[in-house]
Symmetry: C2
Subunit: 357 residues, 2 copies
Amino acid sequence: MSRNIMILPGDGIGPEIVREACRVLEAVNDSFDLKLNFVDELIGGASIDVYGEPLTDAAVERARECDAILLGAVGGPKWDTIDRAIRPERGLLKIRSSLELYANLRPALLYPQLVDASSLKPEVVSGLDILIVRELTGGIYFGEPRGIRTLENGEREGYNTYKYSESEIERIGRTAFEMARKRNKKVCSVDKANVLEATILWREVMDRLAPEYPDVALSHMYVDNAAMQLVRAPKQFDVLVTGNMFGDILSDAAAMLTGSIGMLPSASLNKHGRGMYEPCHGSAPDIAGQGIANPLATILSASMMLRYSLGETAAADAIETAVGEVLDQGLRTADIYTSGTEKVGTVQMGDAVLAAL
Amino acid sequence: MSRNIMILPGDGIGPEIVREACRVLEAVNDSFDLKLNFVDELIGGASIDVYGEPLTDAAVERARECDAILLGAVGGPKWDTIDRAIRPERGLLKIRSSLELYANLRPALLYPQLVDASSLKPEVVSGLDILIVRELTGGIYFGEPRGIRTLENGEREGYNTYKYSESEIERIGRTAFEMARKRNKKVCSVDKANVLEATILWREVMDRLAPEYPDVALSHMYVDNAAMQLVRAPKQFDVLVTGNMFGDILSDAAAMLTGSIGMLPSASLNKHGRGMYEPCHGSAPDIAGQGIANPLATILSASMMLRYSLGETAAADAIETAVGEVLDQGLRTADIYTSGTEKVGTVQMGDAVLAAL
Ligand SMILES: CC(C)[C@H](C(=O)O)[C@@H](O)C(=O)O
Ligand SMILES: CC(C)[C@H](C(=O)O)[C@@H](O)C(=O)O
């Protein structure tokens, strides 16, 4: 029984870092006999250049038939002036929504070897291990009505709709509780229930789910306080669950606490646990093509894919151990370089992981 | 010509810290012959307890006739179970909206004496001086329609509306450009124009204003990136301007970078420069009544009031100099205490500022 993996390199540093992740996947494919089959597709600017749109319907259909997707990153200045409706990011939103990848898992994990890369004091972040569970197919990202209209007085107004139904909240809530069960058994649900009705319902549904997970402690926090607490004392958190917009903001802040966003993978899953895996960082057009991008977040995304969507724990463990080893060897790409370590490029980093495997 | 100042102590530590700020105001009132006249009113839980609502219409009317307002903080567990529509926070939203206090200025300033209180490395934050300009009477906080409704399939949905008109964006944009003129001449406008139409218009209006302020450099940043950059390298910013919701989140994160949110004042101004002044921190019910709260943010809010709404620069300078002196003397309330300094209570801190004046 072979499994089809869709590869979406995307733009900017995407192709370079995905190439290294694919080499790693091919290596474990052989050594663990995983029977993975790779299918290449275009997304983002790369797709715009060929098809005039950031993700074709045909690509979505092929993605549906795959067991998992590995994505690099999308976007870049080349496409910054075209109509917003067909910019690279829209390809990302389209695949998330079409495949109902509602559960976005974004770990913020500090590698002990990289504690100096953080802008926070070592005692504040050492040992940091948070999982942000972000709702990814609802909320203000997809709410209708939306647009820019002309008001009666002649001026224009831009508007969006923030909404969540009970079932949307419930399914992401369950993901958070289930993830917490495998971790430190704490869920902090982040909302703005003192102002927004959409999040009053959010809080209510989380409270309703809690008794079904008596082994997990649920707490609530307003989003402004959560942003503060992430800066002040991030280790107080285990699993943070929140909506699409707040999750976008808080997961980036949390990732940056580690000082090494080039290390952080993410998963976006549907209700069957199928999903898309990608690094937390963007397409970094400023360093694209220079061979200096950090491929580790993408390599770790591949490992996350093996673990969550393909059930290949041994292969996933092997990759993670190999990444730990190259860090122990002192190898660092430019983004995580600190004095006393050895600066390497994208391919050298990939080589080192392959050698450690 | 006397000026009326409304005093709204509010809840939790509000009364304690406002009391110290009033002593300071009375002192400068005498020494600088300011002819200030104080009017006391209730807001938040204190008003709920007496009138059954967090801010009466009569209080709003009296506030309209005042030249400025000094607020402590609102909220606390005592009122956490009453109907959300009349909780303490609603009083705050009502006064902001009724008086059209659309321009919320939240400085994130690191006092050199307090660099150790930050959770960030000293080199990342020393010298930090950012001004967040947050739109305060529009956006998703006040957008209609809003509520919780039952869908056709029987489940409920919570919804809110995020909207901004050109004139709302323009006036807050002008505030940001004008503030930047008096500072380092950089405005970074924060939006999510890659996803939200409301912020596409936001970006457009900011770009349209820019040529009127050729001496100020305008840049744009997505909110997720802004949250990251605040953690990674906050000193890149001068003035940050953004909508109500993003401003709520980013200003709290920025304040926490300093490690001393107990030091940070804020102003909320209307188009005539009249306004309300309050500390950035909340009502801290956990330490209310213990006499240990830091009154300096409220004292500095009083000084900001003298500067922005009353044009009393000399008195404002005197207060700020006095605060600097007590910090130099090594006096610290518990929230900013680090070893080697002298821990003092709320009243002692107020005494010290009065002595330094
Ligand atoms: C590119 C953008 C549309 C996207 C988002 O906002 O979700 C990105 O910031 C992310 O977090 O994956
Ligand atoms: C109390 C709450 C309604 C308020 C807000 O969200 O504006 C507070 O967080 C603030 O920032 O002043």
